[in-house]
């Protein structure tokens, strides 16, 4: 799977360079030490783009590599191969701390767990103030405080002056998660990587944060990579949906298009499993126990083939690539039919 024509077909359609582009992004992890060394393919040759002021949802089952992609983009992990182009420039060309800081300022991250993403030893303003100090060094101390108050208020926490001086344990989960957004917002970002930012929260609070995301996109013009395994919430906020399975992006396209007309059998399975009180109970694949695969030293072939009701011989020998099957709608499946129109 070395062809690069996917990138060409995938990206050339948008005239301007996308905000961020991943090319053949790959990350492997070594598991076990010494003799029993094996490679876990967490993310394998993934291509995607994120446009300006766009919310891209990344969904998929647990362990499919969603967080790994976020971490690769955030620069926590180095890619095993492939590259990340930010505003057309590869991040691997960043040498100076200034370049790196600039990128980090533009692409912050919001974490999944509001209970562990704030340092319990500091007031909740700590992270916001540090971000300001690092990324907007021109501000004076007082200005930083002002600015912090502003962003904390911007995420709907008030009175900001009071909230700022609390310790994390004095805030509820929803409030903490908002602080997480405030931290990301502090330095005028272009793209926020949000790794399951609402999954740990109660349903009653979730929607508020999703609304906040949409609002931030509108008012501040930031883009989001919204990672979730909750398809319904992805539909609620995202313009585009990417579905991952076992380290591969198996389907991507405009949210509605993917939901109404899933091309990949995994997407089908996933959508069927989403409980929806307003819809009748759908039938999933009979006998599927939903066990996700571990991708250790994989052989070529479709990674979903063991669970796939439609699998053909070819699926066992050849890894399917993303194919354009509809308007902006791509899927990596040998048997999926293109749209009629």
């Amino acid at each position: 799977m070395t062809s690069t024509d996917v990138t060409e077909t995938g990206v050339t359609e948008s005239a301007a360079t996308p905000l961020l582009e991943a090319r053949e992004l790959t990350r492997h992890f070594r598991v076990g030490r010494g003799f029993g060394r094996q490679m876990l393919h967490a993310v394998d040759e993934v291509n995607f783009t994120i446009g300006r002021q766009e919310i891209v949802a990344l969904a998929g089952e647990s362990g499919s590599g969603k967080s790994t992609i976020a971490r690769l983009l955030a620069g926590v992990y180095k890619p095993t191969s492939g590259e990340i182009l930010y505003q057309g420039r590869s991040t691997s060309t960043y040498r100076s701390r200034k370049d790196q800081l600039a990128y980090r300022g533009d692409v912050p991250m919001v974490f999944q767990d509001p209970f562990s993403s704030l340092n319990p030893a500091f007031r909740v303003s700590h992270g916001v103030l540090r971000s300001l100090k690092l990324h907007r060094p021109e501000l004076s101390r007082a200005e930083r405080f002002e600015e912090a108050e502003r962003v904390i208020e911007a995420v709907g926490l008030s009175p900001a002056g009071d909230i700022m001086n609390r310790y994390p344990y004095e805030l509820s989960g929803g409030q903490r998660q908002r602080i997480g957004f405030a931290q990301a917002l502090a330095h005028k970002p272009k793209l926020i990587l949000a790794d399951e930012p609402v999954s740990m929260l109660d349903v009653s609070i979730r929607i508020g944060l999703l609304n906040l995301m949409a609002e931030l996109r509108e008012t501040q013009g930031v883009s989001f990579l919204y990672i979730t395994h909750d398809i319904a919430s992805a539909r609620y906020v995202a313009d585009r949906l990417m579905i991952m399975y076992a380290g591969h992006v198996v389907e991507t396209g405009p949210t509605e298009s993917v939901l109404q007309n899933p091309k990949h059998p995994y997407t089908d399975l996933l959508l069927g499993a989403v409980p929806d009180p307003r819809a009748p109970l759908s039938t999933g694949i009979e006998g599927d126990t939903g066990e996700p695969p571990k991708v250790i030293d994989p052989t070529p072939g479709c990674r979903f083939r063991w669970r796939c009701p439609l699998a053909i011989d070819r699926c066992h020998s050849e890894t399917p690539l993303l194919r354009v099957l509809g308007k902006n709608h791509e899927a990596a499946c040998h048997v999926a039919e293109p749209d009629a129109n």
């Binding site: 409030q175 609304n211 939903g290 066990e291």
Partner: protein, 324 residues
């Protein structure tokens, strides 16, 4: 066997925290009939697990039942001796815990844990029963020799359910058995539970924080908020016409993957701290429909059509005192 399998009245549970006790379960009533699937929903920390453990008499300090009765098959479990309880346990009602990783003893094989259970009761059990129930939930009996950590999350949950079926009890109490699973696995397990229930006829109390999950499976629905039951009724009735603003808000907080895309609001604010609940109605600080009486009068459960709701908006006729 009476139709009324379980009858919980005025059940109150307190956690002793040193200064002020936390009333995690506050005067809860609950009825379960044989073969019924009762869903209990509510947000994290509202006292769902505490309620289940109180019913099963599994609380340990600092929690204690400070009031109420739990009648199971006509006997009060609260006042029952540990010895008599032991005899009832697992034979007549069993429990499936939230996380199977923690609920299975990590140092004993699945088979050994089955054996321990069988040995603890003098119920005659065929030797192949463990294998049989494992097969029932779709696990190869070969795993009787496996240790919990050798099974995947889904398999562990299934093994737990198999274990709960060991003596074919009348009631199985389940505490978020699927919350650790992936959506696909979650759905598959739910379908299986439902099928087993149909097949074997046991009643289920099913706790979850995901309202949509139980929508298709449960017969009755109990909505809890801050230690209290705020709405109770047939599942469909609650979904179609929620009578408590909290239930309504919960339903509103679920985006759907089908149908028109509507903006949702959710519920502003945060659940109260149970050590110092707000005065009057506990939902009142977050309630979009609150009026001046709400902080003053503590509402009771009122019958509203097919359901009961704990909301002053519904004060038409107080719920009848039920006799046991």
């Amino acid at each position: 066997m009476p139709d009324q399998l379980l009858e919980v009245r005025d059940l109150t549970v307190e956690y002793d925290t040193g200064d002020r006790p936390v009333v995690a379960v506050d005067r809860v009533d609950l009825d379960v009939h044989a073969g019924e699937f009762v869903g209990v929903v509510g947000e994290s920390g509202c006292g769902k697990s505490t309620l289940l453990f109180a019913i099963a008499q599994l609380l340990s300090s600092p929690a204690a039942i400070t009031g109420g009765t739990v009648r199971f098959q006509g006997q009060d479990l609260v006042t029952m001796t540990e010895k008599k309880l032991s005899a009832l346990r697992w034979r007549d009602f069993s429990v499936v815990m939230q996380s199977a990783m923690n609920a299975l003893n990590p140092v004993k094989s699945i088979g050994a844990q089955f054996r321990d259970t069988i040995r603890a009761h003098d119920e005659p059990v065929a030797d192949e029963r463990p294998a049989e129930v494992l097969r029932l939930v779709g696990i190869d009996p070969i795993h009787l020799n496996s240790y919990p950590h050798q099974l995947s999350g889904g398999m562990r949950q299934r093994a737990m359910i198999a274990m709960a079926l060991l003596f074919t009890p009348d009631l199985i109490i389940m505490d978020e058995p699927t919350s650790a699973l992936d959506v696909v696995a979650q759905r598959s397990l739910m379908v299986q539970i439902k099928e087993l229930q149909k097949q074997l006829g046991f009643a289920v109390i099913f706790v979850t924080h995901d309202m949509s999950l139980v929508s298709h499976f449960s017969d009755k629905l109990v909505v809890m908020y801050a230690g209290q039951v705020v709405e109770f009724g047939d599942t469909r009735a609650v979904f179609d016409a929620p009578q408590h603003p909290y239930s309504a808000g919960l339903l509103d907080a679920f985006p759907s993957i089908r149908g028109p895309k509507v903006p949702l609001t959710g519920i502003p604010g945060t659940p109260p701290n149970l050590a110092s609940p707000p005065p009057g109605c506990r939902f009142q600080p977050r309630c979009p429909k609150a009026f001046e009486d709400c902080p003053k009068i503590e509402p009771e459960l009122y019958q509203v059509g097919a359901v009961q709701a704990r909301c002053l908006l519904n004060v038409k006729e107080p719920v009848q005192e039920r006799t046991s």
